[in-house]
Structure formats: C-alpha cells, structure tokens
C-alpha cells in the first residue's frame, strides 16, 4: 500500500538511530580473547533501527543485571511506542498482534478450505465448485508458505541480532514474488467464483448471460490492471508512473466487491421468508451479510488508518475466501429449501416469458422435423453404410443451425438446385454476424450451464461410449442448452388397461431385439424414448 500512501508520521527523529557520541574512556572486552580489553576513545554508538525507527530488542536486561541499555535507547523506544500508527510500535502494532492476525487469518482460511472440500457438495455446479476448491487450496497454500517465511525470518532476526522486526513481514507482501503470484491467482479464481454465485442468484437465461459477460470482463480487467504495478516495479525503474494505477485498481476492486455485496444482500432481502425455515439458517444469513460486507468494511478501516492498514493483503485473501465459501453454503441451503417448496407446489419451477418467446417450442419442433426430412432424403440417395456416419454430423449441423425464419435456408429446399446464387454483401455480413452471435451465445450457455447451471444429466452410467452417445443425442435435440429439463413420467395404470399393457410389453420386447441389431445412433435415441421431455429455454 505504500506505493500510494505516505508512511506514518515521521516527524519524530530518533537519535539512537544515528551515531551517538559516547565520549572516551570505555573499556571494551574483545569477543574472542578472554581477560583482555581495549581502551577506546571517541566512541560512537548506533542502536538497532529499521527504516530510521527503533526496533524491538528482545534481549531482556533485568534491573538486577549489571548491564543496561543506554538511556537514549530506552527513551527513544518509549517515544516510539507512543505513536499509534506504526507497525512494531504501539500495542496494536506490536509483533504479537501482527503474528496473531496473520495466524488467525491462516486458521480461518484453512478451516473454510476444509469445509469447502468436505462439506460442500454441489453436483449441479461442479465446475465452479472445483474452481472454488482450487482457489481455497491455493489461498491456504499461499498463507502457509507466507507464515513459514515470516517465522523463519523472525527466527533469523532473533538468533542473529536479538531483535524482532515487524517491518520485514510487511516487505514480504510486496517483494516476495511467489506470494504476489499465488495471491493474484487465488483472488482471480475467487472473483470468477463470485461471478458464478451471482449467476446462481438469477434464474432467467438472458440475465445469466449478461452477468457472465459483465462479470468476466470486470474480473479480467481488474486483475490485468492489478498485476501491472507489482511486475512493473520489478521490471522497470519508473515506479512513479504506476503510482496512480495501484490506487485506481484498488478502488476498482472495492467497487466490484461492493457491487457483489449489494447484489447478494438484495437477494437475501428478497428471500427473507426463508430465513428462519431451517435450522441455523438465520445465523448463516447474518454471517453471509457480514462476510460479503467484509471487503468494503476493510477498505473503510484501511483508509481510516486503523491497525489493519498495513496488513491489508492477508485480510484481503481471507475476505475473498469467506465471502465466497460462506455465500456458497448459504445458497446451497437456500436451494434445498426452494426445491422443497417447488416440489410441494403444483406448478414446480417458475417458467419465464423469455422461455416462451419467439416460438421456441415451434422452432425446436421444426428443427427436428427438418432434420428428419433431410435424413430421409439423404438416406434414399446415398449408400446406407456411408450415411450412418456422415448423417450423424450433418444432423447435428442442420438441427443446430437451422432457423425456420432464415429465408436462405428456407428457399434452399432439398429438391432444388442453385447455381451462382450469391447474396448481397449486406446479407452475407448479416448472416456472418448472426452466426457469430449465435456461436458466442451457444458457448456462453455451455459455460454457464456446465459451470453454474443445473445438471440435467441424471445418468450414472460410467460407460464412456454410452455417455458420448447420449451427449450427442442431447446436443442434436437441443437438450444441451440451459433451461431444458427432462422429466421422467410415471404412468398411472388402470385395471382396464392391464390387457393392453401386456400387449405393449410383447411389442416392446420385439423392439428391443431390433434395437440391439441396429446402429449406435438408434440405440442412443431409444434410451430417450422412455422419457418425455418438456423443452423450454
């Protein structure tokens, strides 16, 4: 932080940090020669100092001891510990308080990492949960390395010089590149996880997409700008050029954290009916509100020159861990409550108007129909064996790309020939643009669905080939897009239907026999026959 802030008040000058003339006539015992001493004239003495302020000398000299510190050294130390805003000086900045805060942050981070790895299980949000676990482990590892370095440095100072310097701890934050890099990576991952959490808060597909785009852009921008000053300090000698960037990015991060806190608290307020419907839910909600406000709170504490101002980096990591992991846990429990309510209600999950707009059901149906028609026509014209492989790919393309409103694809019917049918450049550009937009949206949906979307795949099959086949069928039918759910249905059997059922059983057995002999594609499709699906986007 001292890149953009002046150090604490340095109006006090400590004479013990400069050479003091002690006069003449002292006998100095030689270290390696017993019973021998040197008579010294014009003696000058300077006490242990760091950055022109006294340091804590850990050698204990009791009053009964024949030796004592110089009066000036004692006076300077007494003055120094009266200053309230300097590391190593006053009680709140003393080395014990600093070590206590660092180790407590370490313990909190480890504790939350263990919770994240063991207790939180979200099959529906697998990717983001994996990212959260990696980020937590990285943060824990970073703090473990940091504490090890701190303790080793303190031990070395104590053994070699008999002093304890809190300043050396502060230098690790900026000078140790491994700490900077690991901290950067962990923070980046936590910020992506926070984007995932915000996506989880919203249910509409379009809003999820917007949050994903904006969140990723903000996170990447903030981190690229954040990483420039530390590396620039190592790479160039023009530190002053980067002085403006560091505080700006610092504030930018705080602004993002405040926005995150606002969104989460707004969502908590919306769900106030569920606060006390579950054991410990009220406490967890309160804790969530507190932890998402930690980062903005620490910013205020930081600029107010409270005792954490120099230790911001350690608190920063802990704030990110807590505000992500605890919010995740709160959301998990909230989801359980909401699922229970949805299961008890008649309508189930809410369906939004955007899922019904633009006749998506009809378009979906037309896609399937178009694919059927093309497949049919191709099969009549091509060899059956060759077609079984190529049609798989073609069907995927036709289903995913076919747009019923697309005039070009509509005009180009399968029974017509077109020669030199070049459209205008405008049409071509528009087509390319819309194709690019569709591709980007498809990719976004894939990322959103696979990382934070609901997991629709209820199959527990471990067979890789079967999974691939199912994935292909799902993609072909458009079931790999978010918001499409497969509901298995239970048939109600009446007594009068029993006879018909028996007939159907016989027919199904015959069908199964046929399916075993058919190609891979057929086998994959028949697995979905047992499910009715409700296609919504």
């Amino acid at each position: 932080m001292d890149l953009w802030r002046h150090g604490p008040n340095r109006l006090n000058t400590y004479s013990s940090c400069h050479s003091m003339k002690l006069g003449s006539g002292a006998l100095i015992q030689l270290p390696f020669y017993e019973n021998s001493a040197v008579y010294a004239n014009d003696i000058t003495f300077r006490s242990f100092c760091c950055e022109r302020v006294p340091v804590y000398v850990s050698t204990v000299l009791r009053s009964s001891s024949p030796y004592r510190y110089l009066d000036q050294v004692i006076r300077d130390w007494e003055t120094f510990i009266q200053i309230s805003d300097y590391v190593g000086g006053s009680a709140e900045y003393a080395i014990y308080a600093v070590i206590l805060s660092i180790t407590s942050n370490f313990v909190i981070t480890i504790f939350l990492t263990v919770i994240c790895c063991i207790n939180i299980s979200g099959r529906a949000y697998k990717r983001i949960l994996q990212l959260l676990r990696i980020a937590s482990l990285l943060a824990s590892l970073n703090l473990a390395i940091f504490i090890t370095k701190v303790l080793r440095r303190l031990e070395r100072d104590h053994n070699m010089y008999g002093i304890v310097r809190a300043h050396s701890i502060m230098h690790i934050f900026q000078d140790d590149m491994s700490f900077v890099v690991l901290d950067f990576l962990a923070t980046l991952m936590f910020q992506f996880c926070q984007v995932g959490i915000v996506i989880r808060l919203f249910q509409r597909a379009q809003e999820k997409r917007i949050i994903f785009f904006i969140g990723v852009v903000l996170t990447v921008t903030a981190n690229i700008l954040w990483v420039i000053p530390p590396f620039a300090n190592h790479a160039t000698k023009h530190k002053s050029d980067w002085q403006i960037l560091r505080p700006f990015v610092y504030l930018f991060r705080i602004a993002i954290a405040t926005s995150y806190a606002s969104i989460v608290i707004y969502h908590i307020w919306q769900k106030k009916k569920l606060w006390f419907k579950f054991n410990q839910m009220g406490l967890l909600t309160l804790l969530t509100i507190l932890v998402v406000l930690l980062l903005p709170g620490f910013f205020l504490a930081d600029v107010s020159n409270l005792w954490i101002s120099e230790l911001g980096e350690v608190f920063n990591t802990t704030c990110y861990v807590t505000s992500t992991v605890i919010t995740w846990e709160w959301l998990d429990r909230l989801n359980v409550l909401e699922r229970k309510e949805e299961a008890q209600s008649i309508l189930g999950r809410p369906i939004f108007e955007e899922e019904q707009q633009d006749y998506r059901f009809a378009k979906y149906a037309l896609r399937v129909q178009n694919a059927l028609t093309r497949r049919e026509s191709r099969e009549t014209s091509m060899d059956r064996n060759d077609a079984s492989n190529s049609s798989e790919i073609c069907d995927l393309q036709t289903i995913s790309r076919y747009d019923p409103e697309d005039q070009i694809s509509e005009v180009r019917s399968i029974d017509q020939m077109h020669f030199n049918d070049k459209g205008s450049y405008k049409d071509y550009a528009l087509k390319k643009l819309s194709y690019t937009r569709d591709k980007i949206l498809y990719l976004t949906d894939q990322i959103v669905q696979k990382s934070v979307g609901h997991n629709n795949n209820s199959s527990s099959s471990k067979n890789k080939k079967t999974k691939q086949r199912k994935a292909m069928v799902r993609k072909r039918l458009g079931l790999d897009r978010p918001g499409i759910y497969i509901y298995s249905t239970k048939e109600v059997v009446f007594n009068s239907d029993e006879d018909e059922d028996e007939d159907e059983d016989v027919r199904e057995n015959e069908d199964e026999g046929n399916n075993q002999n058919s190609n891979d594609n057929t086998a994959a499709i028949t697995t979905d026959h047992t499910d009715h699906f409700q296609g919504t986007r």
Partner: protein, 237 residues
C-alpha cells in the same frame, strides 16, 4: 410502469444535481469545497488556503493537485488521508461520472417520452448502461473517501447519496426490462388468442409432408428418430 420511469427520471435528475456540486467546488467557486482540513480547502480542480486576511488563495484550475504547490505559509500540500498528492489525479472520475449520469438521464427521458420505452432492446441497453454509471458513481465516492476520509464536506457526502440513487435507478431499470418483456409476451399471446388456436403435432406435420405414404414412417421405427410428442401453437399457415 409509467410511475417507475418517472421515478427513475426524477432520481437521475437529483443524482445529476448532486454530481454537479463537486464540480463547482473551489477554486471554481469560493463557498463550496470537497473537504476542509487545517485551513486548507480542497476542490475538484484545485485547492485553496485561507490567508491571515481571511482571503482565499487558490491554485490554478486543473484536475489533480500538484505536489510542488505550497501555501502562503510555505507548507507543502498534504492530504487529510496521508495519501500521496499524485493520487488526487483520480478525481478525474467525477466529470466522467457526471457525463455518464447525464447520458443515462437522457436515455431515461427518451424512454419516458417516446415509444422506445416499449422496446425491450432499448431498455436492455439503458439497463446495461446504468451499470458503468453506478460503478463510476461508486468510484467517485471511494476516491473522495480515499483522499479526504472523514474530513469530507457535504458536497463529498452527496456522492454517497448519488451512488445509492443510481443503484436504485439501476435496479428499477432492470425491473422495467422484465416488465416490458412480460408485456410484449402478453401482447403476443393476446393476438394469438384473438385468432383461432391451432395446434400441430410433429407427427401430423410429418405425415402431411409425406402425403399418403404414412406406412413408410410407421414401418421404420428402427431409425430411432421417432418424432417427439410435442404440440405447439403458432401462425404457420
């Protein structure tokens, strides 16, 4: 809906006024300041010091303070928060934020007085534009806090009110986007209800396309691509 856009315009107008106050602080005017500290008065375009004859002596008007500026008593400029003077260049976010808020206000007024208010795309654009506006407004307040901490004067604290106001506008714009989207859907549905509702099933469409050759469809169940049982409502003639 109408009420909501009026509230948004009203709040944005107030926010714009709030954001104008920091721009007219010292040395532009002599009465307003972002912060006052030890007889120093800090503004957006410079700072002033009150001399012994109670007269304000100000620096030249420019964004950010100069560390070489000295007051009449010869003291070098110091900021209340002990930040380095170069950080005051961040005050540039104030005019940028004002420009964004003004643009958002114009967009909101456009939505209010023109039929564009019924367009979900326009509302989506406005709602998206409100996000950087909110971020900039928040940044303005954070910069003020960073430079002047609790020594802020009321024009500085107005930025907090402006941030809350923009946050409210932002939420309302997103709510409006949802409302307009629902309204559009409902209007489409009402048109559909006026006309006779036609339902098509995939198999019917398929069979009609195949003509009388329905036996072929029935006889090829091994292809696996049995048409899903979906019905839909539309305007296919």
């Amino acid at each position: 809906m109408v009420c909501m856009i009026h509230i948004v315009v009203f709040l944005l107008a107030i926010t714009t006024v709030f954001e104008i106050f920091p721009l007219i602080t010292v040395p532009v005017t002599k009465r307003l300041s972002l912060s006052s500290f030890r007889n120093h008065y800090y503004g957006l375009f410079g700072w002033c010091v009150r001399g012994k004859n109670k007269e304000l002596m100000c620096t030249k008007k420019k964004i950010g303070y100069d560390s070489t500026d000295v007051d009449s008593s010869g003291h070098v400029l110091t900021l209340p928060s002990n930040s380095k003077v170069v950080v005051s260049n961040l005050l540039i976010v104030h005019p940028i934020s004002l420009a964004f808020t003004l643009t958002l206000l114009i967009l909101a007024v456009t939505i209010m007085v023109t039929p564009l208010g019924d367009s979900p795309e326009m509302l989506l654009f406005t709602a998206l534009f409100s996000l950087p506006t909110f971020m900039l407004c928040l940044l303005c307040f954070l910069v003020d806090i960073l430079l002047f901490i609790s020594k802020l004067d009321w024009p500085g604290w107005l930025m907090l009110a402006a941030t809350i106001s923009v946050a409210l506008c932002c939420s309302m714009l997103w709510v409006m986007r949802r409302v307009v989207s629902v309204r559009k859907y409902e209007s489409q549905q009402s048109i559909a209800h006026v006309r006779p509702v036609e339902q098509y099933s995939i198999s019917d469409v398929y069979l009609s396309k195949q003509g009388s050759d329905s036996s072929e469809y029935e006889s090829t169940p091994t292809d696996g691509l049995t048409a899903p049982e979906i019905t839909y409502r539309g305007f296919i003639e």
